[in-house]
Structure formats: structure tokens, C-alpha cells
């Protein structure tokens, strides 16, 4: 995967979570992931098509997503419930939207599908292209989350 595609997702993640959830995630060093295992307890995944094709996954540890969604809703949540699942879909959607806008300014026109959300220990993120994907690790005080992107050239 072209490393030029990493920054739009990194910036979009920071932007969305800072704006909507008032958290400042610390970013770690991106690395290559070769299997389908999700890194967290709940994940959102969205398919991308157009000049580039692939998928974007976000995978959150429980403590991390509970803090993020509690901040978004102005409520004190205690675990992964339907609100959290809905919010993961919405966060995935928003990050995809912001990243696609940035990619569009670099000449790549991309549309997104509807996000799906999977919760539970040891679930998988299956990318449209099969992988490998780039993991961008993030951390907030309550725990880690990752952005898991797999993008390639669009249909020829």
C-alpha cells in the first residue's frame, strides 16, 4: 500500500475524535498487518471504491471507546451497548468522509459504502482486498485503538 494514503486517515482520525469526543489521541508508529485479527473489542469497517479501492477499519479497546462515546453523548457509559455500536459506525463514517476529502484534494475520487460494526473478543477485520493492511496505532488515557487501512488502485 502506498504510504501517501496513510496521512489522510491519520489526520482524519485525530480531527474527528478531537472535534466530536474532545480527546487528543497519541499516535504510534504505523506497521504492516498480515492477518485478519482485529486489535480491539469493537470494530467499524467501511468499503471504499473509486480511484482507489479497499477498506478502512477502526478497532477500539472497550475502555477507550466507552470514554470516547461517553464524551460524544455527554453521558457516563459503562460498557459496549447499542449506543456505542451506533457511535462506532458514525465515527467510522466521519473519519472516512474527512480522509476521502483529503484524498480528493490529491486527485483521488473515492466513495464509501455503509459502515458495519462488529463487537466481541477475537473478532476479525476482513479487508475488501484481502490485505495486508497498514495499522496506525493510537492511544488515549483509557486505552488503545487502531486505524486499519488497506487501499489499492481502483478498477482498471
Amino acid at each position: 500500500m502506498d504510504v501517501r494514503f496513510i496521512n489522510p486517515f491519520l489526520d482524519a482520525t485525530e480531527n474527528v475524535l478531537r472535534t466530536m469526543a474532545f480527546v487528543e489521541p497519541k499516535v504510534g508508529k504505523p506497521y504492516l498487518k498480515k492477518d485478519n485479527a482485529a486489535k480491539g473489542d469493537i470494530s467499524g469497517i467501511i468499503g471504499l471504491t473509486g480511484d482507489l479501492r479497499g477498506s478502512l477499519g477502526l478497532s477500539f479497546s472497550e475502555a477507550c471507546i466507552v470514554r470516547i462515546v461517553s464524551n460524544m453523548l455527554g453521558e457516563s457509559l459503562t460498557g459496549i451497548d447499542n449506543d456505542v455500536k451506533d457511535a462506532v459506525g458514525e465515527i467510522t463514517n466521519m473519519i472516512s468522509g474527512v480522509a476521502r476529502k483529503k484524498l480528493e484534494s490529491e486527485g483521488f475520487s473515492i466513495t464509501a459504502a455503509i459502515p458495519t460494526v462488529v463487537a466481541g473478543k477475537s473478532h476479525s477485520i476482513v479487508h475488501v482486498l484481502g490485505g495486508p493492511s497498514i495499522i496506525i496505532p493510537f492511544e488515549i488515557e483509557e486505552g488503545p485503538f487502531v486505524v486499519d487501512v488497506c487501499l489499492g488502485n481502483g478498477p482498471t
Binding site: 472535534t19 460524544m72 449506543d83 451506533d86 459506525g89 458514525e90 468522509g97 476521502r100
Partner: protein
């Protein structure tokens, strides 16, 4: 600016309605009603006085654009301020919304301050 105005939030995602409600609360708006799609929103608008509509673009049953057109075509509702929420500022969507008479639009994600300034700008221009 009058913070007691009644605002209708229209979004098919309950969580997003809560997020917008939370943002509105942060800038002093607490008189809020909700609808989960355009059709329910239209019924709400006809049943009670609503001063301002904040509607998502993309919804099942009746989209934000269809709701906007229905509001503008209704003699009693057509002056209602209407703020459209979109996931991305697609030019063709913005043009369609402007043609249909949208008061303004806001792209997700947005802060409480940006939402407040959009509302104040719309109300200030009435």
C-alpha cells in the same frame, strides 16, 4: 440570541441525535425535539411549533433533501430555518440543497461552537 427556541433534530441514528443534542446543550439550547426520519419530522412539524430544523442528509424513508422540499412546499412551514447536516460537502448535494431552499449546511464532524455560529448566522439573517 434566543436560546429558548425549539429545535427539531432529524437523524436516523439515535446516537447522532444524542450527539447533536449534547452539542446544542453545550451552547445553551435545551428545547429540543427529535425525529428519526423525514416523514416523522414532517408530522412533528405539523403537530407542534418548531423554530429551527437540523436534519441529516442521508436517511431512509424520506431523506433530508426530500424533507426540506416538503417543508418549503408547505404554506405554514415554509419559513422554518433549515440546517442540513452532511457527511461530506459534495458539490452536487450542496447545489441541490441550495436550490431546494436550505438555510445553510454543516459538514460532520463539527464542534458545538461551529454549530452555534451556523444557527446564529441563520437566525440573524431572518
Amino acid at each position: 440570541m434566543d436560546k429558548s427556541i425549539r429545535i427539531l433534530i432529524v437523524d436516523d441514528f439515535a446516537t447522532m441525535r444524542k450527539v447533536i443534542r449534547n452539542l446544542l446543550k453545550q451552547v445553551g439550547y435545551e428545547n429540543i425535539v427529535e425525529a428519526e426520519d423525514g416523514a416523522i419530522a414532517l408530522r412533528t412539524l405539523k403537530a407542534q411549533k418548531v423554530d429551527f430544523v437540523i436534519s441529516d442528509w442521508n436517511m431512509p424513508n424520506m431523506s433530508g433533501l426530500e424533507l426540506l422540499k416538503a417543508v418549503r412546499a408547505d404554506e405554514e412551514l415554509n419559513a422554518t430555518p433549515f440546517l442540513m447536516v452532511t457527511a461530506e460537502a459534495l458539490q452536487e448535494n450542496v447545489i441541490a440543497a441550495v436550490k431546494a431552499g436550505v438555510s445553510n449546511y454543516i459538514v460532520k464532524p463539527f464542534t458545538a461552537e461551529v454549530l452555534n455560529s451556523k444557527i446564529e448566522k441563520i437566525l440573524g439573517s431572518l
